[in-house]
């Protein structure tokens, strides 16, 4: 009997911590990201860009280990960078160069011979929809076109992993949708993508899995599909919702009461039985008991509210 070799994680970190002086940008992040398109979510200042720069070996973490595509990003950053493409969030295009020249130059900086670099630049600009504009100067490009050039330079050298820092930032709705479509296509071409954004709808629409950062802490990571209907249960009760929530919490459930409702988060199938038995013990009636589909945005807001409290 033969067994297939294990697929290495695209990214894995252990106890990853990075501080800028007194400001801690990443706190003890242990995460393993698999193949596909992964969304990196967090508010501004959550540590998304720091995380991406650590993966590239551009920042040396204060503590912890980072493996990217099976290579140690701290010990061998050049090997990692030869396999990774990076699209920064900020403005990063020289205005006095044509798109074709710039993308070809970035390919040469990844070690491609000049002729290959020019050919790849043409192909990549075609792929991102700039075949007609490739000989125009970048200073004349709109924001949407500039974002496409940034994406083209990130993939021109044939990377196995692409890190996209807020790729849809500054785009109008049509441009944003086009950019998300391009990112989905990258996933379909077999390129692994880590895509940071604070636009949660973009992540949900594009990514296979998600990594949620909050103030440098890893809040959760896993498939987007796991945010499914079983994770939250809304119970509408006839009776004292506050006491009902307290009893549920005493039974080990994460329950929050509102006027007539109790919301149980992180629920499992077994928790339905606990809710029923608790209602029976308390003598309250259950008017409605339903699983709630909780979006990434709900989770993000819930975390933010908790942090405020």
């Amino acid at each position: 009997m033969s067994t297939s070799p294990p697929v290495p994680a695209v990214v894995s970190t252990q106890s990853l911590t990075h501080a800028y002086g007194d400001v801690v940008a990443l706190q003890d992040v242990d995460v393993t990201l698999g193949a596909g398109v992964t969304g990196l979510v967090g508010a501004n200042g959550a540590g998304k860009t720091t995380f991406l720069r650590v993966l590239l070996g551009l920042l040396h973490p204060t503590h912890g280990n980072v493996m990217v595509l099976g290579r140690d990003a701290l010990k061998d950053p050049l090997a990692v960078r030869s396999l990774v493409g990076y699209m920064p969030e900020n403005q990063c295009l020289p205005k006095d160069q044509t798109a074709a020249d710039f993308v070809a130059y970035t390919a040469e900086l990844a070690g491609l011979p000049t002729a290959d670099a020019r050919r790849r630049a043409s192909e990549t600009l075609f792929l991102v929809g700039l075949e007609e504009e490739r000989f125009r100067f970048l200073g004349d490009f709109s924001t949407g076109m500039a974002q496409r050039v940034k994406l083209a330079q990130a993939i021109v050298h044939g990377p196995e992993l692409v890190l996209l820092d807020e790729p849809a930032s500054g785009l109008d709705p049509a441009g944003r949708e086009a950019m998300l479509e391009l990112i989905r296509r990258l996933g379909s071409f077999g390129i692994n993508v880590i895509f940071s954004s604070h636009l949660l709808t973009d992540i949900e629409a594009t990514c296979d899995s998600v990594m949620l950062l909050d103030a440098g802490w890893l809040v959760r990571s896993g498939p987007v599909s796991n945010l499914g209907p079983t994770s939250t249960i809304t119970v509408e009760v006839i009776g004292d919702a506050g006491e009902f929530a307290a009893r549920l919490m005493a039974a080990g459930l994460a329950a929050v009461a509102s006027e007539h409702d109790v919301t149980v988060t992180g629920a499992t199938d077994h928790d339905y039985d606990v809710i029923r038995d608790t209602a029976d013990d308390q003598g309250v009636g259950i008017y409605r008991l339903s699983p709630t589909s909780r979006s990434l945005e709900d989770e993000f807001l819930m975390r933010a509210n908790k942090a405020e409290q």
Binding site: L78, A79, P88, C92, T106, E108, A110, G111, L112, F137
Partner: protein, 294 residues
């Protein structure tokens, strides 16, 4: 009539050859040369560098022409015409202008436009980036010093009564003197350029700072060194542009005027040392700055 079909070629991973860091440094140098000369840029970016380069070559041609005309009148007249060391003096002015205007372009825009974040995401180190830029600087500014001297050398050889090859053989020392003096100019100018360009983002301000330091700095160093403060003579060592001239006169055995460090009793070897120190400081400064930015 044929039916045309458009295919989406999709994305193909790159499976071809990948070159090492030496090739990356060459690519950076090539890009730097293009940037300085305005190649593959808009037409207005070409005007200044090319007009200065054409001026330099034209001046060499004019001097050869003067030698030809004067030589046909009398050898004594030809002796009094500008030769190799004078040409350095002329070219250092043109080079100063060229480097002041186009030199900051080598480092400034990459930083101010945020392009470094793309470049340093590639498999290269800060040293590769700076070495590539250094090659670009040496190629353009070095050519400005060496090519007209070469033209003059060949031109004078062609005019020589001793014959072309005899002239060249008799003056083999030119083959090391010209590069040595050019290296002095390039080192002191490049060192200062590295400091100024890595600190000041706006190319116009960087050009002004560079130009001002070399021109006004020379005068100012002379004035301060002339005061009665103890040790004030050492301020004359800050007359950076004069160090290259001292070395030029030292190498060619010429005397094209007194220079500030010499006036305050410093030997030519001190000027050569000062040039080396300026170059090292420039390199170290730029490296330190870009290590932070990478």
């Amino acid at each position: 009539m044929t039916d045309a079909v458009i295919y989406d070629r999709g994305y193909r991973s790159y499976e071809g050859e990948r070159l090492g860091r030496a090739a990356i440094r060459r690519a950076i140098a090539r890009d730097g040369i293009r940037r300085v000369l305005g190649l593959r840029r808009k037409a207005r970016r070409k005007v200044l560098p090319w007009s200065l380069l054409v001026t330099a070559v034209t001046m060499a041609a004019v001097i050869i022409g003067l030698h030809f005309v004067a030589g046909s009148i009398s050898a004594a007249v030809a002796e009094g015409l500008p030769s190799y060391p004078n040409l350095f003096d002329l070219y250092s002015r043109i080079a100063l202008l060229l480097i002041a205007v186009t030199g900051p372009e080598l480092l400034g825009p990459d930083r101010s436009l945020g392009v470094l974040s793309v470049y340093f995401s590639r498999p290269m180190r800060v040293s590769d980036y700076l070495v590539g830029k250094l090659f670009a600087y040496l190629s353009v500014a070095g050519a400005l010093y060496v090519v007209p001297q070469l033209l003059l050398h060949l031109g004078l050889a062609g005019l020589s009564d001793d014959g072309f090859f005899s002239y060249l053989v008799d003056r083999l020392d030119i083959l090391w003197k010209v590069p040595a003096v050019a290296a002095g100019y390039l080192a002191v100018h490049g060192g200062l350029l590295a400091v100024v360009s890595s600190q000041i983002e706006r190319t116009g301000f960087a050009a002004a700072a560079y130009f001002g330091t070399l021109t006004a700095g020379n005068q100012l160093a002379g004035v301060i060194a002339d005061t009665d403060f103890p040790g004030s003579r050492f301020v004359s060592l800050l007359a950076l542009d004069d160090h290259a001239r001292v070395v030029r006169d030292w190498v060619f055995g010429s005397n094209l005027g007194r220079h500030v460090p010499e006036e305050f009793g410093f030997d030519p070897w001190v000027s050569a040392l000062a040039i080396g120190v300026v170059a090292l400081i420039g390199g170290w400064w730029a490296y330190r700055r870009y290590r932070k930015l990478a």
